[in-house]
Amino acid sequence: MKSYHADERGYYGEFGGAFIPEMLYPNCEELRQNYLSIMEEPSFKEEFHQLLKDYVGRPTPLYFAKRLSEKYNTKIYLKREDLCHTGAHKVNNTIGQILMAKKLGKNRIIAETGAGQHGVATATVCALMGIQCVVYMGEIDIARQAPNVARMKMLGAEVRPATSGSKTLKDATNEAIRDWINNPVNTHYIIGSVVGPHPYPDMVARFQSVISEEIKYQLQEKEGRENPDYVVACVGGGSNAAGAFYHYLDVPEVGIIAVEAAGKGIDSGESAATSALGKVGIIHGSKTLLMQTQDGQITEPYSISAGLDYPGVGPMHAHLYASGRGEFISITDDDAMKAGLELCKLEGIIPAIETSHALAIFEDRKFNTDDVVVVNLSGRGDKDLQNYIDYFKL
């Protein structure tokens, strides 16, 4: 049967692989050879699930959003990843990877972060395990995300500014990769999304797959069936989407809807809608869709949401797009902000602006009255308060 999961070499169709300089080969190879067997070890599974339960607060609820459903005349469930410790799904992955790092005997962790959510989630698990943590963050992002910088510092992490290139997420990722080249033996790199060279996209997707694993049995309890008609998630790099889609990838009757950030509009020159604007290329060691010039230089994306502000997309999602398995919708800043405020008023939940993009599809994308639509509510909006205040002049 045709599968939308990674093959043994880390390819999703034509996308994925490990396009890395030789300096990174031993690091990635060590991980590639060990990640699946470590994840299968009973002691690993036990500790991972125990921490997800007692520390992260899983399972997160699958909540039937009654008033939102009434408004859009369909059945909308929200998978409440916003209720995870640290405020988003990111911690599912960092818990998994810190345990992986321990099994591999690493005593130093590096990570990249854009808005700071993955940085906070990484600093959190490093504090939990008492492991040294260095987080790379673009100089520009450090300036505009001061609360998260403070959080990381309080958690004991060192935040190093990425001053190269455009000084944002992609450059922070470059700096983290360079650090890994310079520290190949003792350091594990905790990538925050389903991006980067094999085995990262597959490994991160597996750690996040707990999201759809829970949706299946929770939906069984509520609707008497495991499969919704649609799963909806926002996509920057795509880790929350990968987790929400994971157990439905090869279930054709479940529609997969990926929502990208159109920024100020797809044709505005200020957008992060990679599926619409990207071409096949190599970014951060992975063959995927990315936004680039005709000459193959990687361009800087734009979105009001820092978490969707990435010029590429994970290879799983590139394949979902190219194969037609996934439906890709892009949402502008304005529509996302409106949908975020709407969820506050209708359901009493303040969502992250990333997540608001997924919520914004209901305005134009119509569903049947009896369709069951699960939206992955990937994060809470506390971190975005200043943005909401500025935007709505609150």
Partner: protein, 253 residues
């Protein structure tokens, strides 16, 4: 015979210089190449600038960014180099990241290289297995040698596989680092140089990363066939422009 192979047969203590095309000024490319040859450099690596040079330290990042800002791109570089073989006869290698080559079209890119008289390519993020499966035939058809890297962390088994896939030379990265990050060699490098020298590889090795002056050049070439200088030369260009290239080369050997 390919100029790289020819050169490696003739000479020892090969001095190879890397620079970013389009830096410090957009039109300096040809003059830099000519001056390097005039001053006795054996081999030149012309850097095709990339927006996200993962394996490079700050010096080459900055020269790449500046070159792109100056307006450098793949087509323009080919245009600048179209008559280079009228004045320059030493081996020329293009070094860059894979994405710009992929966007240009690998076949097209290789055909252009052949037409100009480029002898080889170094694309650090084009992995060995992908090269062999998808691109080796194209490179060979156009007479291009693909140069692979090894590092102190590369296993003996993989070094042998890389040796088998190589023709010309192996680019021996001196330490676990990005370019221009570390200065000088310690006991770790000596052991590594000895280990590689004792492996009896088919291809000679040229050492890169960490070579910046006569002392490190001498150390690197005691066991290896040659050495590559990149960041130190770019710093020289930053400070002095394209004048005084001869002075730089003379202080190396």
């Amino acid at each position: 015979m390919n100029r790289i192979k020819q050169k490696l047969q003739e000479d020892n203590k090969i001095l190879s210089i890397y620079f970013s095309a389009g830096y410090p000024n957009l039109d300096d490319t040809v003059k830099i190449i000519q001056d390097l040859e005039k001053n006795g450099v054996d081999l030149i690596e012309i850097g095709l600038p990339f927006s996200d040079p993962l394996a490079d330290g700050p010096t080459i990042q900055e020269s790449s960014t500046a070159a792109l800002k100056n307006g450098m791109n793949t087509s323009l570089l080919f245009e600048q180099l179209k008559d280079i073989r009228k004045t320059v006869s030493i081996p020329l290698i293009l070094m860059g990241y894979f994405n710009p080559v992929l966007q240009y079209g690998v076949e097209e890119f290789c055909a252009q290289c052949e037409e100009i008289g480029i002898d080889g390519l170094i694309l650090p993020d084009l992995p060995l297995d992908v090269y062999q499966e998808e691109y080796e035939d194209i490179f060979k058809k156009h007479g291009l040698i693909n140069v692979f890297l090894i590092t102190p962390q590369t296993s003996d088994e993989r070094i042998k596989a890389i040796d088998d896939a190589s023709e010309g030379f192996i680019y021996m990265v001196s330490s676990a680092s990005t370019t221009g990050t570390k200065q000088g060699f310690g006991s770790e490098q000596s052991e590594y140089f000895d280990r590689i020298a004792s492996m009896g590889l088919n291809n000679p090795q040229i050492v890169g990363f960490g070579i910046s002056n006569a002392e490190t050049f001498e150390q690197a070439t005691q066991k290896a066939k040659g050495a590559i200088i990149g960041s130190a030369f770019i710093k020289h260009l930053t400070a002095n422009g394209v004048d005084g290239i001869g002075d730089f080369v003379k202080q190396i050997r």
